[in-house]
């Protein structure tokens, strides 16, 4: 059994302008020790999906449906005190902006100790000891003295390490990282990604890596969900996804990415803007921007169906398989050019 099983999850926000369908029928599984990459652009529903899983969306304005089973236990119907026991203890979370994600008026040590003492009946001294140890584990120099510093005395990269230390301090089984490196410089990003890999090896936690960066997904993930307009539009093992993406949106994402190894002089661009979640298009959410759209796409939402030869590679698209294969072959050649032979 998977550690985290999400079935047909819906999150809708009631706003003054109408109902925003932020998440519409998302399903996935996460196994122990694995890394799930979740890619999508702003408004794809990737963050809201996991805030819903954690019970962190405001239920006063959000309607939530579906099922979230964590280790066999249904979380969507769990009491708030039950959820508090799971959050921070069994599922840790890391957020995007380390500058704003730590309380500016409390010492780093206090914030780490709080995480310890919320879930363990230990003395302040013991909590402090664990806080220092956690800081050492994320390679913060002079952890014994830095523990008494305030967040503004740390650089962005160091604050993100503190966030990671805090998420890991109770040795959770799952870490949900929401764009953990987006606000950081590339050399710092490389440090943080390497650290996360190392910690995963040491502790065996499962990681959900939510990001807009296909590069980060390629580096870290075992499995990938591509999200668009509140739905999963493609899911696959990471190698399959990059070797043979099946959905025009994924093609577009890969094509629009300038990359070091690329030879093409012009990027493939996806025309138009991400869809409105207030008034999503009928049929396939991607149809207004899709180059291969036909009538069926505008009328009917394609199911998330498996590829003919791979049961674990699933995607939403009405194109028939031969057609899809032909288009991808052409795209791949254009994308990789002379280096196509190496890939």
């Amino acid at each position: 059994m998977a550690l985290l099983e999400v079935q047909d999850l819906h999150t809708r926000f009631r706003t003054d302008d109408g109902v925003v369908k932020a998440v519409s029928g998302v399903s996935f599984e996460l196994d122990r020790g694995k890394t799930l990459g979740v890619v999508g652009e702003s408004g794809s529903g990737k963050s809201v999906t996991f805030l819903t899983v954690m019970g962190l969306v405001d239920r006063k304005i959000a309607e939530v449906e579906g099922s979230v089973r964590y280790d066999g236990e249904e979380l969507l119907r769990a009491s708030s005190s039950r959820l508090q026991k799971i959050r921070g203890r069994r599922i840790g979370m890391i957020f995007q902006d380390p500058m704003t994600s730590l309380n500016p008026v409390k010492k780093i040590g206090w914030q780490l100790e709080e995480a310890v003492r919320l879930h363990n009946d230990v003395s302040r001294d013991e909590a402090r000891r664990r806080a220092i140890q956690a800081l050492q584990e994320v390679e913060i120099p002079r952890a014994e003295t830095r523990v008494d510093d305030y967040p503004h005395q740390f650089s962005g990269g160091m604050r993100q390490r503190v966030m990671i230390a805090m998420a890991l301090i109770n040795q959770p089984e799952v870490i949900i990282a929401d764009e953990p490196t987006t606000a950081l410089d590339v050399t710092t990003q490389a440090q943080i990604l390497r650290l996360m890999k190392k910690l995963q090896d040491d502790h065996g936690a499962a990681i959900v890596m939510i990001t807009h960066d296909l590069g980060v997904v390629a580096e870290l993930a075992d499995d990938v969900l591509v999200m668009y307009g509140g739905r999963v539009v493609e899911e696959a093992k990471v190698d399959d996804l990059f070797a043979a993406p099946q959905m025009p949106y994924t093609w577009g994402l890969l094509g629009s990415l300038p990359r070091l190894e690329q030879v093409a002089t012009r990027l493939e661009q996806i025309p138009g803007q991400p869809p409105s979640l207030l008034h999503p298009p009928r049929g396939c959410a991607f149809n207004p921007r899709c180059a291969y759209v036909f009538d069926k796409c505008r009328a009917e939402l394609p199911g998330l169906d498996p590829a003919p030869d791979k049961a674990d590679h699933r995607y939403r698209c009405h194109l028939d398989d031969a057609e899809r294969e032909r288009i991808w072959a052409a795209k791949k050649a254009a994308l990789t050019g002379v280096e196509g032979s190496a890939a």
């Binding site: 959050r87 994600s101 500016p104 503004h152 805090m166």
Partner: protein
């Protein structure tokens, strides 16, 4: 931090000098002759001249100012009223407790209303409590406090006869006959002024606190705290309140300072002999020492409270303390 404090103290001193100087200059720009007024109607020119000498009004303005500063620093004296010759210090000594009683009681009252209402309506936006709170806020902000005071006097004091409608009683009990005193009487007589002061400000502060708490609730670190598994009450107490009170403290400090300079309308409506009422009497009579005394006290209280706010702010926010 020490440097921050030193800088603050320096500015406080500077403001103090500037405020008193400006008062003097304004006074001398206004074409009036306090000596004539002090002498009363139809007096002989030599008497007026004598009074003028007595009051040092014959000296140039800078010498008068210097004399005032000298007396203040050397003797702790604010001078003597031009009108009745009483030491200004004695007069202020009687009036400050009155104004302070109104202000402190009123502020305690409106904070006691505004903090819980503001916080609760922030936690439950659009709930019935929030909505009724908003109506109360609207009424409180739109109604002038004089009007509220008069309505209260008429309804509560006069029609229902529940409270006295004016007069001030000393907090400290005395046994003099015919003088009301003691904490009970004190509070009883101040009840209506307090309510009057509280209504408008409670409304304003409810709104302010609500906005600040809601803003803090949407901060990323509050989400972090919830993701750690902290309960809603713990999140509120440990992570939200302190951060959302920063702005409230600033405004409260400014308000307190300003109010202590005299709550003119309330003092007049309820016949309370406070600083505001005194100022209204002294101004048309050009009673310079009294006016300067009150201005001085008002400036001092504004400066003191601003300073306290700064210190409190530094204590609340390490980013200032350690910068």
């Amino acid at each position: 931090m020490t440097q921050y404090l030193i800088r603050r103290i320096f500015w406080a001193f500077f403001l103090f000098v500037v405020a008193t100087m400006i008062t003097y200059v304004i006074f001398f720009v206004v074409p009036a002759d306090p000596a004539t007024l002090a002498a009363g109607k139809a007096t002989k020119p030599e008497i007026v001249a004598h009074i003028r000498r007595e009051l040092h009004l014959n000296l140039p303005i800078y010498q008068q100012y210097w004399l005032f500063v000298w007396n203040l620093v050397r003797h702790g004296s604010f001078g003597y009223s031009f009108v009745n010759g009483l030491p200004v210090r004695t007069m202020l000594g009687q009036e400050i407790p009155v104004t302070a009683s109104i202000v402190v009681g009123g502020v305690v009252m409106y904070l006691a209303i505004a903090i819980p209402t503001g916080v609760i309506s922030a936690l439950r936006p659009r709930s019935i409590l929030d909505r009724s709170g908003m109506i109360f806020v609207l009424v409180g902000i739109s109604a002038p406090s004089v009007w509220i005071g008069l309505i209260l006097i008429y309804l509560v004091g006069f029609r229902l006869g529940w409270t006295p409608i004016g007069d001030y009683c000393n907090l400290k009990p005395t046994h003099a006959i015919g003088v009301c005193s003691g904490p009970g009487q004190w509070a009883y007589h101040l009840l209506l002024p307090w309510i009057t002061l509280a209504v408008g400000s409670a409304a304003l502060y409810t709104r302010l606190i609500r906005a600040n708490v809601m803003e803090t609730m949407s901060e990323d670190y509050v989400r972090t705290a919830r993701a750690k598994g902290a309960s809603p009450s713990r999140v509120l107490v440990q992570h939200v309140l302190r951060n959302s009170m920063l702005q409230v403290v600033t405004i409260l400090g400014m308000d307190l300072g300003l109010l202590l300079g005299g709550v003119v309308f309330i003092e007049i409506v309820f016949g309370m002999p406070g600083l505001g009422a005194q100022l209204v009497q002294a101004a048309p009579r050009f009673d310079l020492p009294v006016i300067v005394g009150i201005v001085l006290f008002a400036t001092l209280s504004v400066i003191t409270f601003n300073f306290l706010v700064d210190v409190l702010y530094a204590w609340l926010d390490p980013r200032i303390r350690l910068a």
